[in-house]
Symmetry: C2
Subunit: 247 residues, 2 copies
DNA sequence: AGGATACTTCGCTGGAAACCGAATGATGGA
DNA sequence: TCCATCATTCGGTTTCCAGCGAAGTATCCT
């Protein structure tokens, strides 16, 4: 057996060892839904102390099985790529079962709409970003990884269509050159686990929606309430269909 | 998380743990060529003592990753099914390499043609069985697993075509009712690692080929020499193309 | 029948790693 | 600015298992 082959075997053994620990296997299975989870959540899934979970997550990340995205004081972990999912998928098949994901225990009202720093987050925000991309108002910026393969959230740029649309709405999309902040970028949504719109444009948009009474701040927390006006306007301006906020 | 999900995670962890040990990973990678290897060979691949390898192989077999076939004093191990190979394949892909197999160190002359107890084995025998199946002289017996999924080698039966063919050749395919021995069955070939023809019919066929001088016994070991006559006859009677015996 | 070969079982040892709690950064919210 | 929360690092304990050799069983080869 030649040296190169031995390397492959060793690599396989390392990968398998990373999955072999029941706590880590639980984490990885939970991540099979393709979303990102925080370290604390994964500690819950794994049923271990936070410190133990942290060590597990470090190992999985170092080995390249997971991808880590820091956002504020949270660390979001997701599967690094499709190949990792493929390995887990094939093992699940061998185990004779189908993948499931863990249940989210986030309060429904917070999941629906809330502020994320200075921009909108939650179900509404995720749907809005996807709609803006679908309508062609926004486009991924050149050189930006759409699927955040690099671990960075993608950048977006306004299209001509988007500029016209926001102008017509009365949104001053011409951001003041506020320091070096990114203009428009994806921001990982902690309830939906996919991106919503962040950056300067996201902040402008939230300010606009609050000013126009599409959204109302709830007292005491980051929850936002979508008004009837807001619901109608989102539907009218962006053809956005939303489910009723549960809870 | 519900109970059923926890079971899946645990199963995955167990599978991964079985692959995680470098020695076992080496064995499994060697088995990726789909052939069967003996415990001793796999101990060599794993670079461990025979006793250690035996424990590893037991674990892999108990977990359902390997299949064990006893033949004489040898134990042949192979991957249990395609799903296992799929898991390893995906891990190899993740490791960024392609599978290779270990080199066989069997003397070439022995690999080509030899006796296996009382029937023919080696490259010639494997090719012959496949040709008999292809020509329709033999067919898998009903209720017999063709791919030895049950761990048993498959049984075969002579078709009408086969009976006519052997009659014309002068092979007395009507075996004497020798105890309870199987009439025609696959027999794992230790150099080719796929089945050749065993059982009463296999024994009859070898006797016939020796009598007709298609094969000659070499002195001192189980090696058999394919004569020029034998080569011509195999080609004429069975349309069998053979590579030249190397070594 | 006897000797060689293939494999397994047993008992023991050593090293690797999973685990937790406490202490220490890092960040957001009031 | 202070506090709460999220996450990581550190130290010490415990559990697990891979490893070997020796002895035992099965099978073959002559």
């Amino acid at each position: 057996m030649d040296v190169e082959q031995a390397d492959v075997n060793l690599a396989i053994a390392q990968i398998a060892a990373a999955i072999a620990e029941p706590a880590r296997a639980r984490m990885l299975c939970a991540l099979m839904d393709g979303r990102a989870y925080t370290a604390t959540e994964l500690a819950t899934v794994a049923d271990t102390a936070a410190s133990t979970a942290s060590a597990h997550l470090s190992r999985l990340t170092d080995l390249g099985l997971l991808h880590k995205v820091s956002q504020g004081r949270h660390r979001y972990f997701r599967l690094a790529n499709a190949e990792v999912a493929q390995v887990l998928e094939s093992m699940m098949q061998l185990a004779g079962q189908q993948p499931k994901s863990i249940q989210s225990t986030t309060p429904a009202s917070l999941r629906f709409a809330r502020s994320c720093y200075d921009h909108l987050a939650g179900t509404v925000a995720v749907a809005l970003l996807q709609q803006l991309l679908k309508l062609g108002w926004l486009a991924p910026a050149p050189g930006s990884d759409v699927l955040s393969a690099s671990g960075q959230q993608p950048d977006y740029q306004l299209t001509a269509l988007g500029k016209a649309g926001f102008s017509a709405l009365g949104v001053d999309y011409q951001a003041k050159p506020q320091s070096k902040r990114r203009y428009a970028c994806g921001c990982l949504d902690w309830s939906e686990r996919t991106a919503h719109l962040g950056g300067q444009l996201g902040a402008l948009l939230l300010a606009f929606m609050l000013e126009k009474q599409w959204l109302r701040r709830m007292l005491g927390n980051r929850e936002l309430q979508l008004t009837d006006l807001g619901k109608r306007q989102l539907n009218k301006q962006f053809a956005l269909q939303l489910p009723a906020p549960k809870g």
